[in-house]
Symmetry: C2
Amino acid sequence: MDSTLTSRVVQHVLAGAKEGLFLTSELLPSERDLAERLAVSRNTVTAAYAELERRGAIRRIHGKGAYLCAVPADEESFSWSGKISRFANALDEPVLELLARSCAGEIRYPFSAGTPSLEIFSKEMYRASVTHVLDGAIPSALAVAPTEGQGRLRSAIAAWLGFSPQHVMITAGAQEGIDLMARCLIEPGDAVVVDAPTYPGALQSFLSAGARLLAWGTEWSLGQLEDLLLRYRPKMIFTTPTFQNPTGRVMSLKTRNGLLELARRYRTPVLEDDVYRETYFGENAMPESLYRLDKHSQVVNVSTFSKILAPGLRIGWLTAPLYMVKQLSLIKMRSNLFTGGLNQLVLADLIERGAFDRHLQQLRSHHRGLCDAALAALEPSLRNGLLRCRVPSGGLYLWCKIVASVDIDEFFGALEASGISVAPGMAFEPRRNKRDSSHFRLCFTAVTQRQLAEGLRKLNRTLERCCSQALPDVQKVRCP
Amino acid sequence: MDSTLTSRVVQHVLAGAKEGLFLTSELLPSERDLAERLAVSRNTVTAAYAELERRGAIRRIHGKGAYLCAVPADEESFSWSGKISRFANALDEPVLELLARSCAGEIRYPFSAGTPSLEIFSKEMYRASVTHVLDGAIPSALAVAPTEGQGRLRSAIAAWLGFSPQHVMITAGAQEGIDLMARCLIEPGDAVVVDAPTYPGALQSFLSAGARLLAWGTEWSLGQLEDLLLRYRPKMIFTTPTFQNPTGRVMSLKTRNGLLELARRYRTPVLEDDVYRETYFGENAMPESLYRLDKHSQVVNVSTFSKILAPGLRIGWLTAPLYMVKQLSLIKMRSNLFTGGLNQLVLADLIERGAFDRHLQQLRSHHRGLCDAALAALEPSLRNGLLRCRVPSGGLYLWCKIVASVDIDEFFGALEASGISVAPGMAFEPRRNKRDSSHFRLCFTAVTQRQLAEGLRKLNRTLERCCSQALPDVQKVRCP
């Protein structure tokens, strides 16, 4: 064999690689093809390929052929961004960041995140239960535990709500329940009916599972729902019928039954976000949950202690048909195996001792007081017709509509500069083409009465300032 | 208009719906088409459609046409199984259940789940830190907290390991870190290189993200790895180079550097499962982690307190380039918003006070004692040549090969009947067509010395019995 010929073939391949004629991770021409193309013997190509492999430039894989190996990259640092899945990338990062920023240090008036009052949370009550648990059940708080949750907490919740414990599954907050449902049911391209506006965390979970969102207005028209069911055959209906987030609305009993009837006829599962059910201020006059009204095991209900005790506990639960408890557990197992035991046992202890119930009573009347204080503090803006909001009978929020003409970005910027965070309406909007620039959600429960009054006074002034700037020719609104 | 004709059209549509000629959620023929087909006037069809809509049998949607509505289903209970996503369904449920069963009550000798010794865990140490935290930082344990984790714990871990805190992100165990990476990078159809055998929880996360698994034998041949990189262009390499699960092997420094070089050349991210790094028995003579050796920010490293303190705490961490800390946080936000504060602050306190370090020292020597005891107890089976296993220098497991011919299902059944759980080899196998029926993983750290000796004596006897049944003609093995 002519070694000059061989090294010419070697050079041909190396030059081809340099010029992009041959690509890394792609098959090189077969020995026979290359021999023909270069008019050399096949043995020459075989020898050249062997030499190239010896140099580490190619790899021959039995039964496949020869591949061109990669050469070291020039850049110093690896580029991760090109590796991110398109479902992870589909997410509306600014919205998430906006919501996340509300727990940053520089916020003096945190009205954006949905947190119950922690003033009411009795350290002594909590500490007593922690001690109780550490004295007794410490092994079950530290060992590997069932994915469905600690039996003691499942039983305590079931007894409180009047369900059977096997239908109750413990989650790391309601967000996890929603995300598990998304991962369990949604395939890329599936449609999901959602309230419009609705909880952004749910939108993020659905989008990251590849869902198309179908907006169902929170007037909750059954006609519109049936249109959506007929036209798009959605995989799931997601709704928050009680103290809807962010609007605070409550779905009537008649609409609930109508929704369930449609869900049954169109064989569509329902995911009920029920995290605000226990946050009523006065008497519990709310219609029954979809989960309770449902006669055909078609509803999964998610709830949490985050809105009625403390979000930092990260304990929620879902109530579901047995089949779904099992499916969702299998997915939770992949996600994080199980939820930590200590806070589960502490919560069970609090419920069993009646301490949780007493807390809830106090929380309701405290929240009612905060709601009244918020409405009183906003009175100037409401009276001036700059702002409009309905008076809620539960939940943690005022859903405020800016009636006056205002540059919304400027307004939010000015609020932030004053140390005030509110949740912008656009965060709750499932329709990509629709930018809600007239609403914001104000959580009145995460602060003290004093902070509330102070912060909202500043908010009134900021709004007036922005309005008078936006409408320089119109009669200036009077400063209170 | 002839009302008889109209009602005939109405009957025609209703009969067609009954016979399956028209389908629910599909468009009915246009008024013009149906009029032609039935040789009636278009007005008659219009009237018939109006009558059908009045009866709730069809819905006309502006600009689309008329849809046949669904009629109430006969079955009493909704069928969820048809609604499950195929990615959720792709999972090997029996394997998960098998692993989960090990925390069930009837297991007297739990050798399957990978748990460190909880005997060494000092209740007093833990309680002191809980009290410490509840006295001081209770609000940050209860309020909404950053998704990346409590700053105090990130700093404590960073100081312990010599990283910078911004690169450390807190997770609900290492499983969550792996699952976040799967959700962040993998799209359906993407290939992922995995050790074979490997940790089943990782396989479940990758499969549920839609990955194809490429098996890389735990001899860790770089040639085989480059073949896989060339042929399949995988999205990620997942490996456990230190005290590999389940084999206990340690990847050499040379192979680590070779792997990183290949990952760099083929621009492939590396996910390093490093949860056993601190579980060495004697001196720390392990090669550096891939994360530390990597010069191009291509590695994400996941770890956890589950293998060195207690799994029930559900606190792990990952170390990653800043870009990935941010991406993974955005995904964790969807998954469960953030991890509970109390155990994070307790852990930070334990590390800061030096208590965690003292615990780790004790744990290592205790684990070494348990490992010696396990090998001594298995001696009869090892000596008889029924079983083979390598002596590990860290980790929580013996990876046992049944050398004798044995019906593996019968063997596992007999073990379960004796109250013994081990993790079957097939649970760790990424190759669908390959059923490993000769290995099992034995965790020697979840039990007391006495349980260990007792349980393994029973295991020896069970194995001998199964062997003598499987080989009736061969010379019986002697009972010890």
